[in-house]
C-alpha cells in the first residue's frame, strides 16, 4: 500500500513536476526580490521571451509529429533580414506579405524533404540551417539591414507598441498560443499530428496521410518563425545577419522542458508556453537576486535534465536507468 502511494506521488510529481518547479521558482524569487512580481517586470520578461516563445510554438508541432527542426534560428534571421530589406522597397504591408510567403516556401521545402521524401529531419534541418544562413548572407550581401526612416512608418507597432497597456509582442504570442493550442487539441489535424508522431506506421495503416501531416507541421513551424522574424524586425528596426543564430537549440530546450517527447506523440502547446516562461523567468529572477548572467545557463542545464529524467523515470517506473 505504501509502495503504491509512493509511485502515485512519483507519477504525480513527474506529470506536474514542471508546473510545481515553476511555482516554487516564482515564489522563491518573489520572496527574494519584491520587484520580481511587479507587473512591469513580468511584462518585460514575457515580452523578451515572446520571440523565442513564438518559435517554440511551431517547433512543438514538429516535435510532436516525431521530427526535429534545427533550422528555425537561421530561418528567423532570414525573415528578419528580408522584411527589413523589403520594407524600404515595397512598404511595410507588402514587405510583411512577401516575407511570410518566402519563409513559408522554405518551410514547405523542408516539409517536402522530410514528409514526402522521408529524409532524416535532423540532417535535413541541419543542412537547411547552413543553407538558409548562406541565403540570408547572399540576400543582404553580409551587411546589417536597417530601416532608413524609423519614425515615418507604422512597422514598429508589432514590436514596440502597447494595446490597453499590454505590449503587442505579448498579445501576439498569447493569440498564437491559443489558436495553435486549439488547432492541436481540438481539430482532426491536431489528432493526426499526435498519431503520426506516436506511431507513424500505425497511423499510415489507419489511413492517415503521414507525409502530408508532417509537411503541414513544418508549414506551421515556418509560419511561427515568420511571426518571430516580424517581431524581431519591428522591435529593433534593424538587424545583423546572425540575429537568430543558436536559437534553434534554445527553442528546442524550451520545448523539451515543456515535456514534449523527442520520440514524438507527446507534448502540448500549453506546456511549451510554460517551458518558455520558465526559461525567461529563471533568467530574469537570477539576475534580479544579483547573480551573474551565466548562472542561468547552469541552472537551465540542471533543470532540463531533472525534468526529462523525472519524466522518463515515471514512465519506466524506476528512477535509475536499466542500462547495464
Amino acid at each position: 500500500m505504501a509502495e503504491l502511494k509512493k509511485t502515485e506521488i512519483g507519477t504525480f510529481l513527474a506529470k506536474q513536476g514542471i508546473l510545481i518547479a515553476f511555482a516554487a521558482f516564482m515564489i522563491g524569487f518573489a520572496l527574494a526580490n519584491q520587484r520580481f512580481i511587479e507587473l512591469d517586470n513580468v511584462f518585460g520578461v514575457i515580452r523578451s521571451s515572446a520571440i523565442l516563445g513564438v518559435m517554440a510554438l511551431g517547433v512543438t508541432f514538429v516535435v510532436i509529429g516525431g521530427n526535429l527542426d534545427l533550422s528555425v534560428g537561421s530561418m528567423m534571421s532570414f525573415s528578419t533580414i528580408v522584411v527589413l530589406d523589403l520594407h524600404d522597397k515595397l512598404g511595410p504591408g507588402l514587405a510583411i506579405l512577401a516575407m511570410f510567403g518566402l519563409t513559408l516556401a522554405l518551410g514547405a521545402f523542408i516539409g517536402f524533404l522530410v514528409g514526402y521524401l522521408k529524409l532524416n529531419s535532423l540532417i535535413v534541418t541541419l543542412g537547411m540551417l547552413s543553407a538558409i544562413h548562406g541565403l540570408t548572407l547572399t540576400w543582404s550581401g553580409g551587411k546589417n539591414m536597417d530601416i532608413a526612416n524609423k519614425s515615418g512608418t507604422w512597422f514598429a507597432v508589432f514590436g514596440q507598441e502597447r494595446i490597453m497597456g499590454i505590449p503587442v509582442p505579448i498579445l501576439i504570442f498569447a493569440l498564437l498560443a491559443v489558436v495553435l493550442s486549439l488547432l492541436l487539441s481540438k481539430t482532426p489535424f491536431g489528432r493526426k499530428v499526435y498519431a503520426v508522431g506516436g506511431n507513424g506506421q500505425a497511423a499510415t495503416f489507419s489511413g492517415i496521410p503521414r507525409a502530408r501531416v508532417v509537411f503541414m507541421t513544418y508549414l506551421v513551424s515556418a509560419f511561427c518563425v515568420a511571426t518571430a522574424g516580424l517581431l524581431q524586425a519591428s522591435r529593433s528596426m534593424g538587424s545583423q545577419n546572425t540575429v537568430g543564430q543558436g536559437m534553434e537549440l534554445e527553442v528546442l530546450a524550451a520545448v523539451i522542458l515543456g515535456g514534449a517527447s523527442l520520440m514524438g506523440g507527446a507534448g502540448t502547446v500549453f506546456k511549451t508556453v510554460i517551458g518558455v516562461l520558465i526559461l525567461g523567468f529563471i533568467q530574469n529572477g537570477l539576475l534580479l537576486v544579483g547573480l551573474d548572467f551565466y548562472v542561468q545557463y547552469i541552472v537551465t542545464w540542471i533543470i532540463i535534465i531533472l525534468a526529462v529524467w523525472l519524466d522518463v523515470a515515471a514512465k519506466r517506473g524506476r528512477l535509475w536507468s536499466p542500462i547495464a
Binding site: 544562413h133 541565403l135 547572399t138 551565466y294 535534465i305
Partner: protein
C-alpha cells in the same frame, strides 16, 4: 563480391570520389576564372588545407564514434571553449610560471583532463538516468557554456607563450603540427574502432542495443568511455588550435557540434548508429574544407559556402536513400 559488398565499397569510395571531383572542378574552373594567379592544386595550399581541417576534424572523429554508438553529442563546442580557457589560463598561474617551459605540457594535461571530465559528466548522466543523449548534451551545451562564462565573464582569455606558438607553427616532414595531431588521431581511432573489443562493441550497441545487451555487452561503460573520448578530443582540438592563437573568446566553438556532425554525415556515418567509419569522416572533413577554400579560390562570396554545404548535405541524404531503396528492391526480387 556480393552486391552488399559492392554497395559498401561504393559508399565508402563516394566521399573520396567527391573530393577528386572538387579538386578537378576548382582546378579547372579556377584556372579559367580565378581572381588569383596561383594554382589551386598547389602543395602549400593543400598542406594549409589539412592544417585548417584539424580543429573541426578532430572533433568530428570523436563524433563518429559517438554516432556509431547510437548517441550524439551537442556539447562539444562548449567543451572546446572551456578546455581552451583552462589551457591558456593555467599557464598564468603562479606555480606554473615558475616551471618555465614545463608549464606547457602541464597546461595541456589540465585542458585535456577538463575535456575528459566534461565528457564523463555527459556519459554518466546518459548511462545512469537513461535520458536520451540528444537531450542530455543539448542541456549540457548550455551548462558548459555557463561554466565558460563563469571563468572570465565576457572577457577574452589570452596568453601567448612563444615556445608554444613556435611548436604549433612548426612543420615536420612538411606537415604542420596540427595536421600531425589530426592524422595521429585518425590512426589511433581507426585502430580502436577496427581492432579492439571496445570498437566492435560500439558497433554492436549502435546496430541493435537490445541484441548487444542480450549478448552480454555492458552498454553503460561503453557509453561512458565514448563520451570521455569525445570530451578528450574536443579538448585536444582546443589544445591544437589555441596553442597557436593564444586568445579565446567565451563564444568560441559555438555551432562546432553542427559542423562536426555535418562532416560525419557527409562521410556516410549513420545517425541511427551501427554504421560508419573513421577514415570516411576524415574524407568528409577534407571535403568541406576543400569546398570552403575552393569557393574562395574561384572568387565566390564566402557566404555561398554555407548555402552549398547545406544543399550538398541534403543531396547526399537523397542519394543515400535512393541507393538503399535500390538495394531493398533487389532483395525483394
Amino acid at each position: 563480391m556480393t552486391p552488399q559488398d559492392r554497395k559498401d565499397l561504393f559508399k565508402r569510395g563516394a566521399i573520396w570520389a567527391f573530393i577528386l571531383v572538387e579538386l578537378a572542378f576548382f582546378s579547372i574552373v579556377g584556372d579559367a576564372i580565378s581572381v588569383s594567379d596561383k594554382a589551386f592544386m598547389n602543395v602549400d595550399n593543400m598542406l594549409l588545407l589539412l592544417k585548417q581541417s584539424a580543429p573541426i576534424g578532430i572533433i568530428a572523429l570523436g563524433m563518429t564514434i559517438i554516432m556509431i554508438n547510437g548517441n550524439i553529442d551537442l556539447s562539444v563546442g562548449a567543451t572546446f571553449a572551456l578546455a581552451a580557457i583552462v589551457l591558456l589560463d593555467s599557464m598564468t598561474w603562479p606555480f606554473m610560471q615558475s616551471l618555465g617551459n614545463w608549464a606547457i605540457p602541464l597546461a595541456w594535461v589540465f585542458a585535456l583532463l577538463t575535456g575528459v571530465a566534461l565528457g564523463a559528466i555527459n556519459g554518466l548522466i546518459v548511462w545512469k538516468t537513461g535520458v536520451d543523449a540528444f537531450i542530455v548534451t543539448l542541456a549540457s551545451m548550455l551548462g558548459f557554456r555557463g561554466l565558460v562564462f563563469m571563468y572570465n565573464g565576457e572577457q577574452p582569455t589570452s596568453h601567448l607563450n612563444w615556445t608554444l606558438v613556435d611548436f604549433a607553427e612548426a612543420q615536420f616532414l612538411g606537415l604542420h603540427t596540427a595536421t600531425w595531431f589530426l592524422l595521429g588521431t585518425v590512426l589511433i581511432l581507426w585502430l580502436v574502432m577496427t581492432k579492439t573489443v571496445h570498437g566492435r562493441n560500439a558497433y554492436a550497441i549502435g546496430n541493435n542495443r537490445e541484441a548487444a545487451v542480450n549478448a552480454g555487452i555492458r552498454v553503460g561503460p561503453h557509453f561512458l568511455l565514448n563520451f570521455m573520448l569525445i570530451g578528450f578530443l574536443a579538448a585536444l582540438s582546443a589544445v591544437v588550435f589555441y596553442s597557436e592563437s593564444g586568445s579565446v573568446n567565451p563564444n568560441d566553438g559555438m555551432l562546432y557540434e553542427l559542423w562536426a556532425i555535418t562532416a560525419v554525415v557527409l562521410g556516410g556515418t549513420k545517425l541511427a548508429g551501427g554504421y560508419g567509419s573513421i577514415i570516411s569522416t576524415l574524407g568528409g572533413v577534407i571535403a568541406i574544407q576543400l569546398l570552403r577554400k575552393g569557393l574562395g579560390h574561384i572568387g565566390a562570396d564566402t557566404q555561398t559556402v554555407n548555402l552549398v554545404i547545406g544543399l550538398i548535405l541534403i543531396a547526399v541524404l537523397i542519394l543515400d536513400r535512393q541507393l538503399n531503396r535500390k538495394g531493398q528492391e533487389e532483395l525483394k526480387i
